[in-house]
Amino acid sequence: MSGNDFFGDLRDLYQEVILDHGRKPRNFRRLEDADCTSRGDNPMCGDRMELFLKMTADGHIADAAFQGRGCAVSMASASLMTETVKGKTPEEAQALGSAFRDLAMTGQCHSCAASLEDAMERLTPLSGVHEFPSRVKCATLAWHTLNAALAGAKEASSE
């Protein structure tokens, strides 16, 4: 029996993109000259990350990076997030986060502006998490941390 059959429909959650980003998270580094940073903490499961944002003069996100430890879902989500928020304004990034939380909880994107559609499509591989209520917070931790960073808060928790 192959791993795929043995673990049933788990490929719905652990799509190749998730496994890849989980194994090799992108933008996994410190930004020494970051304008905003925040720590995200999931005390129940021990997931922890630090997010760094560099802003342009006109207020766009120039660069986003993170460091931390956690499960494949939380690492992949943070990795994909840093890729998708680059070039966005804080408002756009927050709107994306809000649409993503919808996606993680329901499996569908209800309220997505046309300008964010491309970014949402990149995040869609994480939609499978809605079938796993105990794991939704793994996927949303990065976005809670982003909100905190943009709001100037030093800490965020998805508990």
Binding site: G3, G8, L10, C45, C71, A72, C138
Partner: protein
């Protein structure tokens, strides 16, 4: 009666409930065990034929319920070889039992300059109440180290008892993470030689081996019903009568008083003093049935089954590539915490669930212990019950190999 695990499994209705279309392989009994039909039926029978509030009604049904509740106390006393049934206090769980001691012994009897000595392998339930006592009354909190193999560092224990300033040693009889069984008789002898009393958290131990509080010689012992195949909502604090007699109440209310006026109330004698309000009557009946169930199989037979299972699991899990076992104590029970090199415990738990396997992931209410071993991200934990089979251990080991390939 010989130990027939397949027959025992038939006593547990839930074990025949498939999960995700696969047979249930329940390896989280250390968190809470499944219930045999005998417990389920005893509780139903109590509600259908013998239920009323206890200790107050002067009618037959209340007397029947009171007798059943007090019979449960007697069964607990015999189960742990308590010399006197009045030494058995029913609580909600072990956590409440420890809090009771922290409150009534810690605040009511101990002096604020007396230290409490715990260890690195404690469950949060045996850490936090003592921190609260320290913060409120000043009682210093000392922590005995654990060796790399996951055993109590007896030299460190001796050193931390040496100045005679420890009032209470509070220790797990068996670790819920490492499976380590602590040498409680030795600890008690050392503690008593330095004037310290001993509270043992037997939540894990009582399930896996015969506990005799008189042979151990401790002052307090607690355990919870739901890990012993009984219901949730009922636990036990055993304490020497001479100690319980000196302790003020924990909670105030009905049933725990002798006389009440608006000026002053006087306390009932133990155990009633510590059982304010209507107790968990149905749950006590369930716990009694669970103890009867375990006794009928026989603790020696359960121990022998588990020893064989532990040896088997040690071999099987050691053969899984990339697996690191947390703790390798000489004396251990059926609890195995481990890390798999490329799979996070939460991913692993989600994955194994789809194969019908229930394991726990996280820090198992023992965050300082995980920090001690440099595993802040937590571990996966498989824990056994008397219904666990070697075939289930094999299935787990095979699934772990597949999980590792999945994440490779």
């Amino acid at each position: 009666m010989s130990f027939d695990v397949q027959r025992i499994r038939q006593d547990f209705p839930i074990l025949s409930q498939p999960q995700h279309g696969k047979p249930l392989v329940f390896l989280d009994s250390g968190a809470s065990a499944q219930k045999p039909r005998a417990v389920i039926e005893a509780m139903t029978r109590c509600m259908e034929t013998a239920y009323a509030n206890v200790h107050r009604g002067a009618y037959r049904l209340s007397e029947v319920a009171t007798n059943a509740y007090e019979a449960a106390r007697g069964a607990v006393a015999r189960f742990i070889n308590a010399p006197d049934v009045r030494e058995v206090v029913f609580t909600r769980n072990s956590t409440e039992a420890i809090n009771l001691v922290a409150h009534s012994w810690g605040r009511g009897v101990m002096r604020p300059d007396q230290a409490v000595l715990i260890s690195e392998l404690e469950h949060h339930a045996n850490i936090v109440p003592w921190q609260m006592l320290r913060d409120e009354r000043g009682n210093p909190l000392r922590v005995c180290r654990v060796t790399d193999s996951g055993e109590l560092d007896m030299e460190d224990l001796a050193a931390k008892l040496a100045d005679g300033k420890v009032g209470l040693v509070a220790l797990a009889h068996m670790s819920n993470v490492l499976g380590t069984v602590t040498p409680v008789e030795r600890v008690v002898a050392m503690a008593h030689a330095h004037g310290a009393k001993v509270l043992l958290d037997g939540s894990q131990a009582v399930v896996h081996r015969r506990v005799d509080v008189q042979a151990i010689g401790c002052d307090f012992y607690c355990f919870t019903g739901h890990k012993l195949y009984g219901p949730t909502g009922i636990g036990v604090l055993w304490g020497k009568l001479e100690h319980l007699d000196r302790m003020p109440p924990f909670l105030g209310g009905g049933d725990m008083i002798e006389r009440v006026s608006f000026e002053k109330s006087t306390w009932a004698k133990p155990p009633a003093r510590f059982e304010a309000g209507t107790p968990a009557i149905i749950e006590a009946v369930g716990l009694h049935a669970a103890i009867d169930y375990v006794n009928a199989i026989g603790m020696p037979a359960i121990e022998a089954h588990e020893r064989a299972l532990v040896d088997h699991a040690m071999r099987k899990l050691s053969d899984v590539p990339g697996l690191t076992l947390l703790g390798r104590a000489q004396d251990r029970g059926g609890v195995f915490a481990f890390a798999l090199d490329n799979a996070h415990p939460h991913d692993l738990s989600t994955l194994l669930d789809r194969a019908g396997i229930c394991i726990r992931a996280g820090r198992h209410c023992a965050e300082p212990l995980h920090t001690r071993f440099g595993l802040e991200q937590g571990t996966a934990r498989a824990s056994f019950g008397l219904y666990t089979t070697p075939e289930e251990v094999d299935y787990l080991a095979g699934a772990l190999v597949k999980a590792r390939e999945f994440f490779a």
